[in-house]
Amino acid sequence: MKGFEDKIAVVTGSARGIGFAIAEAFAQNGATAVILDLNQEDVNNAVQKIDDAGLRAIGFVADVTDSEFISNVFKEIHKKFEKIDILVNNAGITKDGLIMKMKESDWDDVINVNLKGTFNCTQKVCRYMLKQKFGVIINITSIIGIMGNAGQANYAASKGGIIALTKSTAKEFSSRNIRVNAIAPGFIQTDMTAKLPKEVIDKYTAAIPLSRMGLPKDIANLCIFLASDEANYITGQTIQVDGGLVM
């Protein structure tokens, strides 16, 4: 599928993992991928990888929790391209622990990056999308935000919050032709899930009807569809990509 030739697609947390797969997929479909992440070297490497494939990408170091900084990054992106078509709010972290043992800072950090970061980027990009009267926002949530998980109260709350934020954003901006959807990945092979103990991975894999962990590409494929005109009548939805784990 092509058709993103003149599109500008910003993906947060896209130096590695699912975010990179999404940025790469947009570039492969003709878009200019704008990579935002925390570390300059990681950003440079990600841009280089896409560049080496003969595709278009640029990068910015950005912390999604810093509202003013994010505002300036979007201003710069808009100045350069004169529009922003697609935003994928993917930046996310985990700081797992049982509720009784969870530090206040672990709660705050996860909510700040995952939920407030999504809000910050949405608020800043909508300034431009409103004027364009066009835009697609895709928020990466998680099946954990739907089903909850012992030891991940902060992460589950942040991801559940993203689902509600997705619906509210969709309602607020629908009159301006801005579509907002969420993708809820299940267990995907990334650095984040690589940290899990083998027995946890085995347990979940056994519970997945399609009997395998997902690949970052599985998430990227849905992003491409949701951002395309084929998905013109879809907004406010949370779509699971989890091999059937939760139904």
């Binding site: 409103l130 004027k131 009159s175």
Partner: protein
């Protein structure tokens, strides 16, 4: 700076209305067909063009063209 002319220009551009409709009594929502997002965008445009900050409590009161012009004149005066 001719505040009046600039404000009119912004309103015409943002709301897609005729300049003749932009009278001091014209209410942004009732007369000029703005919705709630339009009014937010209009305030943001005033802030940008005149390089000022308009607090939410102040913005809520700017319901007509006349009120907006008066406010901006005082603020910039």
């Amino acid at each position: 700076m001719d505040i009046l002319a600039k404000v009119k220009e912004i309103i015409v551009e943002e709301l897609g209305v005729e300049e003749s409709e932009v009278t001091p009594e014209a209410n942004f929502i009732e007369d000029l067909g703005a919705d709630s997002l339009d009014t937010v965008e209009l305030i943001m445009k005033f802030e940008e063009e005149f390089d000022i900050d308009i607090a939410d409590e102040e913005a809520e009161k700017l319901t007509t063209v006349g009120k907006a012009i008066e406010y901006l004149k005082t603020k910039l005066g």
